[in-house]
Amino acid sequence: MARAVWSIADSIISPLGFTSEENYSNIRKGLSGVKPTSNPQWNANSFMASALETVASSDASTRFEQMAIKALETALGSHTLPSDKTIFILSTTKGNIDLLDSEDADHPRIHLHAVAAYLADKFGFKRSIVVSNACISGVLALIIAKRFLESGAYDHAVVLGADVLSQFVVSGFQSLQAISASPCKPFDANRTGINLGEAAGVMILSTDPKMLGSKSSVRLLGSGVSNDANHISGPSRTGEELAQAIAQALKTSELTPDDIDFISAHGTATVYNDEMEAKAFNYAGMSKIPLNSLKGYYGHTLGAAGVIETIITIHGLLQNELIPTRGFDTFGVPKEINVCSQLQSKPLKRILKTASGFGGCNAALVVEKVNQ
């Protein structure tokens, strides 16, 4: 029997706040970080994005690192983790890619493993690894952490998901014509693409229930990961593969679809992604289960998305609240799904977090509330 893996602390640094609680309360209020953004370094013209204007680089650290450090400091708080029993996992797609634009293009920390080592060193973690698997990186990093903890290789894991806006990423998504000129509308009939965003989120996982103290908490259950084997940048036409990852997550949790109370979907608000997800949830027998996408609040934060969206969903789980899908008003996907459009109260026990990304990858993770 694998050891139980608990979430013992978390943090989010985003335009919606500098702690998870602050973020959650702003989302409850319906606020969004997405707004017209003018930053000549990123793009000559103004564009719609969720940018974190209050964090700047320092002499020692880049913007990316500053965000990461703040998130780590907040989450770690008073927790001291034994360095030899703790693994630090960084989830990011591009890390310090904006250094390519700076005068310091040869900066050693342009390489992802070097950033991870730098952050690990700052916080005294002996072992760090980097997961860079496109937009499922965050969920995947949680799954990897969970596996390392279950196997007994480590007792604690610090999972950091982070990505920043940059000329690189903005121009890239623009070249793909994927960026919406207005705030994104996941699963909506009038959706026109994504908004980019930047954020950092940290989850501290542990196998030691004593670390939980007296508060209610959650444990990570089963997971599933799959590949479409269809197209490197377009999602599967059928959604079978995401459904397969979900089925795998349920199976390894020893649950059925009915045991899931709420789904935090990927919901990027591109035409094809949202269609694919709708098909997948049908395949998985989950068309009736309420779901949301948090992209309307944060934009697509790439390597951070899986972590911060899991954190917000966990907070909803603990509060027995369903967070609505900001931007959604007219149902617009070819298969029936239950898109949550209003803040609701409901007894919740388990949630499912999914993500899908370039390269055809999909990930799914089940989280369960445990009342102490």
């Binding site: 797609t93 591009k94 890619i97 390519l100 634009d101 342009i110 390489h111 992802l112 493993h113 070097a114 991870a116 080592a117 690894i129 980097v130 997961v131 860079s132 698997n133 496109a134 995947l140 990897i144 596996r147 390392f148 279950e150 196997s151 290789a153 000329q167 690189f168 121009s171 890239g172 998504f173 623009q174 070249s175 793909l176 014509q177 599933g224 990961v225 799959s226 590949n227 479409d228 084997a229 269809n230 197209h231 490197i232 940048s233 593969e241 397969q244 990852a245 795998q248 199976k251 390894t252 990304g357 370039f358 390269g359 055809g360 990858c361 990930a363």
Partner: protein
């Protein structure tokens, strides 16, 4: 867990299961890659659209699976755990250059390391899980430990794992196949064996 095959590409030389399979040092890396493709003649014109990382991954798996019928496993039961040091930096730099004039979407889609995983999955119809780690150097401990954890997932039968790095003309690929069953000369899947095989 057992290592049933390996494929190495470095110094413009392909070593398959320990034997020299293809070599051409007198040309550029790109010409070497096309040479190796022509040698295999797999009739997969999409190869020419790929970036170097994906081309290397394509070729290495082509060799790795050339004498292994991976298709006998169900698509869902085969996984991929890859790693490297430079992520997609080789293509990132090229894309970044292109973005100064007009951004190339064809290049941008390759600016993620796991695109190579996607290409391999498409080519071999692999639908199991994939993971991409970034490490400063080939990390036998990480691969041995993590691949074992992937392999104990109930649905997983086989896993293609290893190291696939490219930056400018530097390239270093070491892919291997892990299976639950020991067949033939398969070696135990341990960090020690991996270190030996990688050397």
């Amino acid at each position: 867990m057992f290592i049933s095959g390996t494929s190495i590409i470095r110094k413009q030389t392909v070593i398959h299961k320990g034997a020299l399979a293809f070599e051409n040092k007198s040309v550029s890396l790109d010409d070497f890659l096309t040479g190796a493709y022509n040698y295999l003649s797999p009739e997969y014109p999409k190869f020419y659209k790929m970036d170097r990382l994906a081309q290397l991954g394509f070729l290495a798996t082509e060799f790795l699976l050339s004498d292994f019928p991976i298709k006998q496993y169900s698509p869902e039961s085969v996984s991929l755990v890859l790693s490297n040091a430079h992520a997609s930096m080789d293509t990132d730099v090229r894309y970044h250059e292109s973005s100064k004039t007009s951004s190339s979407p064809a290049l941008f889609v390759y600016t993620l390391p796991n695109i190579v995983s996607g290409e391999i999955c498409i080519r071999h119809r692999i639908k199991g899980e994939n993971t991409f780690f970034i490490s400063p150097a080939f990390d036998a401990e990480l691969l041995a430990a993590y691949v074992d954890q992937v392999m104990v997932q109930p649905s997983v039968q086989a896993c293609i794992a290893g190291w696939i790095d490219v930056m400018d003309s530097h390239h270093d690929v070491f892919l291997y196949l892990v299976e639950k069953e020991q067949r033939g000369l398969a070696l135990p899947h341990t960090a020690e064996e991996l270190t030996k095989l990688y050397r």
